[in-house]
């Protein structure tokens, strides 16, 4: 049956300012979700839950329409249906924000009586989502969502709402959200959250945006079409047969003639690689066989033999007509000639000095810490994934928002960052406040080995360097450098310089299985074992270094 919370997208540490809200007391987020589901005063699109205060706020806005703020201990839940901008079937559940007809005419508000007096009003159809002037389908019209128009001559018209790709797929099915769960050869798909029969890395919690639900066919990794791991032990994965939609695909973003970002939207006509090789036609399988065909990637502009980036490469590329060079990058002029778009792979080595602490509230912190207090990795400030935000270097040019380093651009109490964990929007960083010392360098390891434990022995006590100088029977030990009362040539500080034969301390220079011993001062007893307690097993936490690693990653 699932949880009521399955209908919501959860974001920790986020807050929405919302003029339309209701405040409740709730013991749990589920209880708060119930309040949202049953909200009568407005369409509840989201709710905020603070566990410490047990406060529940039902909201009419969500992150599509209102600004997100950071706030500790708050969890924002947004109703999935209101985040979708596509329709399923006739679109009766469509709750998106399209407010223009297919001809581009602005919709009339459902609550207005002019220019058209509506039959469908929010009062008459309170469950139909007739808010503002958004396209809706309160009457189950076959042609999908529609609205009354602001054109006095056109009472109503349909809206151009894209399909949610439930029954069919556009492009390569990256947005396919249907429920087909068998492969082309009829094998049943393995659940994405299962590791049997095939162990794999596509864990749903790590790819929240890929909708890896149940065992449905999906395309999370740029394949030509949706696929799944199969329940057959002998077939790890296979494509699914999802029909192509007959409706046109969503209009592509306008292509560029120059290089911006990774150049996925480059639609220019350069067809020569950086080394001068001519590009092979994408529709040709000679000289190189490949799967990047216009049929497999119909929405990626694989025209002629032009350089393209259909698969998230670093920049546009092509297969070459040179049999010895399968594929190469192309040199595409940058849209912004002042900023090189394709940095060399080399990354300068990080400085040895690291700011390990921050002064004041950390607004001036410019160190390289990039982990939060709970150990989560920081999201790069320039990235909008997994969290969209406005704390960019452009908006905060003086805040030092480089890479994914902890910063405090908004004068919070200490440095923080957005996290790479999709479920936790932001957290404070794992940084200490300076004690008036300013910069601290990474501590140097002490110059003495901590290997020896003076009070006990490990195994047979070869490493024992303590100061016990009596045998188990209470006799005093003879000095190792002395030849009286017992003369001995073999175990002396000179013959065994690493054995720690100092003074008359018990030692084990010969690796005796019974442990440390010594020559005794009793002329009648040449040597005897000493009674030194065994050390308890070493106490340590695995995987935790005492010296902070650089975590130098070159991605």
């Amino acid at each position: 049956q699932g949880s009521i919370l399955d209908h919501y997208v959860r974001t920790e540490g986020a807050w929405l300012l919302n003029p339309m809200k209701e405040v409740y007391r709730a013991n749990s987020d589920e209880e708060c979700a119930e309040k949202c589901e049953n909200e009568e005063k407005f369409a509840c699109r989201a709710f905020l839950f603070t566990s410490k205060d047990q406060q529940c706020l039902t909201l009419t806005e969500n992150s599509k329409t209102a600004m997100l703020f950071r706030r500790a201990n708050a969890i924002l839940y947004e109703k999935r249906i209101y985040l979708l901008e596509c329709k399923e079937g006739k679109g009766m559940d469509y709750r998106g924000t399209e407010a223009k007809t297919q001809k581009g005419v602005r919709c009339q508000k459902w609550a207005d009586n002019a220019p058209h007096k509506p039959n469908y009003t929010p009062e008459k159809y309170p469950k139909a989502g007739l808010e503002e002037n958004y396209c809706r389908n309160p009457d189950g019209d076959e042609k999908g969502p529609w609205c009354y128009t602001t054109d006095p001559d056109t009472r109503f018209d349909y809206c151009n709402i894209p399909e949610c790709e439930v029954e069919c797929m556009h492009c390569s099915g990256e947005n396919y959200h249907g429920v087909v769960a068998t492969t082309v050869s009829g094998l049943e798909c393995q659940r994405w959250d299962s590791q049997l029969p095939h162990s794999h890395g596509y864990l749903p919690e790590n790819f929240p945006e890929k909708d890896l639900k149940n065992n449905y066919c999906r395309n999370p990794d740029g394949e030509p079409r949706p696929w799944c791991f199969t329940t057959s032990p002998t077939k790890r994965w296979e494509f699914c047969d999802i029909p192509r939609c007959t409706t046109p695909p969503p209009p592509p973003a306008p292509g560029r003639q120059c290089l911006s970002g990774r150049g996925e939207d480059y639609r220019g006509t350069i067809s020569v690689t950086e080394s001068g090789n001519t590009c092979q036609h994408w529709s040709s399988q000679s000289p190189h066989r490949h799967a990047r065909t216009p049929e497999n990637y119909p929405c990626r502009g694989l025209d002629e033999n032009y350089c393209r980036n259909p698969d998230g490469e670093k920049r546009p590329w092509c297969y070459t007509t040179n049999t010895t060079a399968r594929w190469e990058y192309c040199n595409i002029p940058s849209c912004d000639s002042t900023k090189p778009e394709a940095p060399a792979v080399d990354v300068p080595e990080q400085a040895e000095v690291t700011e390990e602490c921050y002064q004041g509230n950390g607004v001036t912190y410019r160190g390289t810490a990039s982990f939060t207090r709970s150990g989560r990795k920081c999201q790069a400030w320039s990235s909008m994934s997994p969290h969209r935000h406005n704390k960019t270097a452009e908006n905060f040019p003086d805040a030092g928002l480089s890479q994914n380093y902890c910063r405090n651009p908004d004068a919070d109490s200490r440095p923080w960052c957005y996290t790479t964990d999709p479920s936790v929007r932001w957290e404070y960083c794992d940084l200490k406040k300076c004690d008036g010392q300013g910069l601290q360098t990474v501590p140097k390891p002490p110059q003495t080995s901590l290997e020896t434990n003076p009070d006990c022995i490990v195994e047979n006590g070869v490493d024992y360097r303590g100061t016990v100088a009596k045998t188990a029977r209470g006799r005093t030990c003879q000095e190792w450098s002395s030849q009286k009362p017992h003369s001995h040539d073999y175990f002396t500080p000179k013959t065994h310089p690493r054995a720690g034969l100092e003074k008359n301390y018990c030692r084990n220079p010969d690796g005796d299985v019974n442990g440390p011993w010594c020559y005794t001062t009793d002329p009648r007893k040449a040597w005897e074992y000493c009674d030194i307690p065994k050390c308890p097993p070493p106490q340590y936490e695995c995987g935790k270094a005492k010296f902070r690693p650089k975590l130098c990653a070159q991605r």
Partner: protein, 230 residues
């Protein structure tokens, strides 16, 4: 390690250097318990005698001149019985655990990496002319799901299910000769867990040719049984 950086001294305290009895480094390894080291089986091809090897712990420089260095003889070798590239070394006596020598965590039995983990490799192996030769180097890159790694343009079906791939698609940084047997560790909250043992690759740091590592989680039951019965 090709490219990457010289690590902070002793920040990977589980990394060991596997050496000949004359003290020559030839492979890496990982301390997983005070008396046990995990390495690659192919590192033990030179000799089947335990006496042919020495394990150096607590070092940053390949020269092993630091006072923190501990040297241990190998008491026994254990190669995985089905010829996987994984082996255990029992040290003649336990390493002293201190700030410079700390075992790494083992993964949960048969656990999988989710594809977005931050993972790091370390070693004193070939740097292919990049900086830091002679010092313990590190580099980080993502783990690549086997399905992708086995695509024709990558390793074309060579990667077995008991192995994992990791690296940058564009190459540039990688493990290399001499790093074999060393760890691929991934941060799990605030601890490093060893998910891979450096095993093989097609060249070093080549585009579309990520490194291949033994998938440690598949061998946790074997590791535990060998340690318990020895």
């Amino acid at each position: 390690i090709v490219a990457g950086c010289v690590s902070h001294p002793h920040s990977w305290p589980w990394q060991i250097s596997l050496r000949t009895s004359y003290g020559l480094h030839f492979c890496g390894g990982t301390l997983i318990h005070p008396q046990w080291v995990l390495t690659a089986a192919h590192c033990l091809e030179k000799s089947s005698r335990a006496a042919a090897y020495k394990v150096y712990l607590g070092l940053h420089r390949e020269a092993a001149t630091e006072p923190s260095v501990q040297i241990r003889d190998v008491e026994k070798l254990f190669k995985e019985p089905h010829r996987a590239d994984i082996a255990l070394l029992k040290l003649s006596r336990p390493a002293a655990i201190n700030d410079h020598v700390i075992p790494v965590c083992l993964p949960k039995e048969n656990s999988v990496l989710g594809g977005r983990e931050e993972c790091y490799v370390t070693g004193w192996g070939d740097t292919k002319g990049t900086r830091g030769s002679g010092y313990l180097k590190e580099t980080g890159f993502p783990v690549i799901e086997n399905k992708i790694c086995n695509r024709p343009e990558f390793l074309n079906g060579r990667v077995k299910k008991h192995e994992l791939c990791a690296g940058n698609i564009h190459g540039g940084t990688d493990t290399c000769q001499g790093d074999s047997g060393g760890p691929l560790v991934c941060l799990d909250q605030d601890k490093f867990v060893q998910h891979g043992i450096t095993s093989w690759g097609l060249g070093c740091a080549q585009p579309m040719k990520p490194g291949v590592y033994v998938r440690v989680s598949n061998y946790v039951p074997w590791i535990k049984s060998v340690m318990e019965s020895n």
